[in-house]
Amino acid sequence: MNVRLYLLQRGSAAVLLPLVLLHLGVIFYASRRGLSAADILARTRGSLFWGTFYAAFVIAAATHAAIGVRVIAAEWTGLRGLALEVGMWSFGLLLAALGLIAVAAVVLA
């Protein structure tokens, strides 16, 4: 952990703060009478707002989670050096890729 990673971690956390609170609200609203694809997709399909919202969410979450898991791996398993870097980037890129595909799935479908 150094100043660069720290800034990315805290910065992504600050970005995630309003997104997560809104997402919690959406979860409660969407689950008010059982989840259905029609309901969800009616909200997200073709929506510039939700597309941007969730794309930003994915990038911030991928950054935040990758760095967080990196720190845990370094502290609790002793992983270090190249293996640690590769692990962090792999996890972060995996989350970003899966996440953006998911956003595309519900916005562009």
Binding site: M1, N2, V3, L7
Partner: protein, 238 residues
């Protein structure tokens, strides 16, 4: 007379606890207990103390799992069901029994650049320290550290990160970051912003909970995080 069943750590890292029966007294500190064992039960016991009145920090040991000054720990406060467990400070190599090697602690102290870099020489007029400025108050709030290593021993982040400079070293660096007479700010911020620096701290606050001088290294480290963040964003840090 009541007795305490005292488990003392004997040996090095691969040692073990040994049981001693020590007479319990009305006015007795944990240091008194350890001293009694060395004088009456086993003269081969190794331990450290100096002032025995809570000023030097030499007698710091792990008592019932927590680091404390043994000369300032009354047995009535820590003995449970007639038992007491005493070991050397955690997170440091064990030399023997209750004495640990403080060299890593002091090496990290140096590495955090907690050293005053003066601007003036002895032939210049003495520079006045104004005690009421915000920076000086911040420095004064953290300056009473006597390097006892209790915070270092209490910190799990130190345990999990061998490179981590630790609460005491960073706390001292913070006092100098706030010293308006100091000229070593660039190197100091660089040192605390590197790997092993202040950004590893997770704000567990074990340091603050255990400091016998009621210092707050977590707050000092938070200050370092703010300063290094600002310096980095201004391009002053690499």
């Amino acid at each position: 007379m009541a007795e305490i069943a005292v488990s003392l750590w004997r040996g090095k890292a691969d040692g073990s606890y040994q049981l001693y029966r020590v007479p319990q007294r009305d006015n007795q500190t944990v240091l008194d207990v350890v001293t009694w064992v060395q004088r009456n039960a086993d003269p081969t016991l190794a331990y450290r103390f100096a002032c025995r009145v809570g000023m030097c920090g030499s007698c710091a040991m792990t008592v019932n799992g927590r680091p404390r000054w043994t000369c300032r720990t009354h047995t009535s406060k820590v003995v449970r069901h007639g038992k007491l467990e005493i070991g050397p400070l955690a997170n440091l190599p064990i030399i023997k029994d209750l004495a640990c090697d403080l060299r890593p602690f002091f090496e990290k102290w140096q590495a955090a650049k907690g050293v005053f870099a003066p601007r003036l020489t002895r032939v210049d007029a003495i520079e006045e320290i104004v005690p009421t400025t915000a920076a000086r108050q911040a420095a004064d709030a953290a300056i009473e550290c006597i390097n006892c290593a209790v915070c270092y021993a209490a910190c799990d982040t130190v345990r999990w990160n061998p490179d981590y400079l630790g609460p005491a070293a960073l706390n001292r660096a913070w006092t100098l970051v706030n010293d308006e007479r100091d000229t070593g700010q660039q190197q100091r911020l660089q040192a605390v912003a590197a790997a092993g620096g202040c950004h590893i701290c997770h704000s567990h606050q074990s340091c603050q909970q255990h400091c016998p001088n009621a210092l707050n290294p977590t707050a000092s480290i938070a200050g370092l995080k703010r300063h290094t963040m600002a310096a980095y964003l201004k391009g002053e840090l690499e």
